[in-house]
């Protein structure tokens, strides 16, 4: 099993996407099928952007097993008040200055769920949000 871990900083738009790119490159080196790599890339990119845009910072951990890829994204809050709403396509709490950059389409979590074979989200307001994403290959 290969394990990767990335620290993601709040508001760090300059480095945004670097963790996802690094994960993608590793999967390519391992010869993982391109359709699977694409799903992992979309899921990790959205998780990375969510941490950058919405949280106080967090991390993404990836475990590559022979039969599945596990992705854990966790942040230090502030948490999601209404997860059901956050899972709806088009719903976003992103501020205006971020929307002007093309983010905040309200597609992040729905995109992640679509790419995942298994998806779990847990959030406590004032504490954290944690995502568990499993993709079989």
């Amino acid at each position: 099993m290969i394990q990767l871990s990335y620290e993601i900083k709040n508001d760090d738009f300059l480095r945004a996407g670097e963790a996802s790119s690094s994960i993608k490159k590793t999967l390519r080196k391992l010869g993982i099928e391109s359709n699977i790599i694409r799903r992992v890339a979309v899921a990790t990119y959205e998780a990375e952007m969510n941490i950058i845009i919405h949280s106080k910072g967090g991390q993404i951990d990836v475990a590559i097993n022979p039969e599945k890829i596990e992705i854990y994204a966790s942040d230090l809050g502030p948490g999601i008040e209404n997860i059901q709403l956050a899972m709806q396509e088009g719903y976003s709490t992103a501020p205006q200055h971020v929307r002007e950059l093309g983010f905040g389409a309200g597609m992040g979590l729905p995109n992640i769920k679509r790419c995942a074979d298994e998806f779990e989200i847990e959030s406590v307001v004032g504490e954290f949000t944690k995502l568990k994403i499993i993709i079989y290959h």
């Binding site: 300059l14 945004a16 996407g17 996802s20 959205e46 950059l101 093309g102 983010f103 389409a105």
Partner: protein, 113 residues
């Protein structure tokens, strides 16, 4: 021929960065400015037209495996975006035409026929 280099010549595009990636082949075209939407729908090898010019378009381009990014209407591009395009070897191109006019020209371009 359908490389980025061929497209630059055919459509008289301005080359801003990512010149190491000029041999990439173009298989289609995608137009969009909402980055999550683009991430979900762009196809590998697409030439991506977007009015977004900040550095994160390069990350989306790399992850979406686009052949090149075309900025329409001579929009101003951040220096950080050009630097990142060079690092990631994603051709970053610019045109005076708008996205619609570019789409018409791309439709007529021999490289996509």
């Amino acid at each position: 021929m359908n490389t980025v280099k061929d497209l630059i010549e055919a459509l008289e595009l301005e080359m801003l960065g990512g010149s190491e990636g000029l041999d990439k082949e173009i298989n289609g075209v995608y137009i969009g400015d909402l980055l999550s939407w683009v991430m979900a729908h762009v196809q590998p090898g697409d030439a991506w037209i977007t009015i977004q010019t900040h550095v994160n378009i390069i990350a989306v381009g790399v992850l979406g495996e686009v052949s090149c990014i075309i900025i329409p209407e001579n929009a101003e591009v951040d220096e950080a975006t050009i630097t990142k395009a060079n690092v990631e070897e994603i051709p970053l191109l610019r045109s005076s035409l708008n996205a619609y006019q570019l789409a018409i020209k791309l439709n007529q371009w021999e490289g996509l026929k």
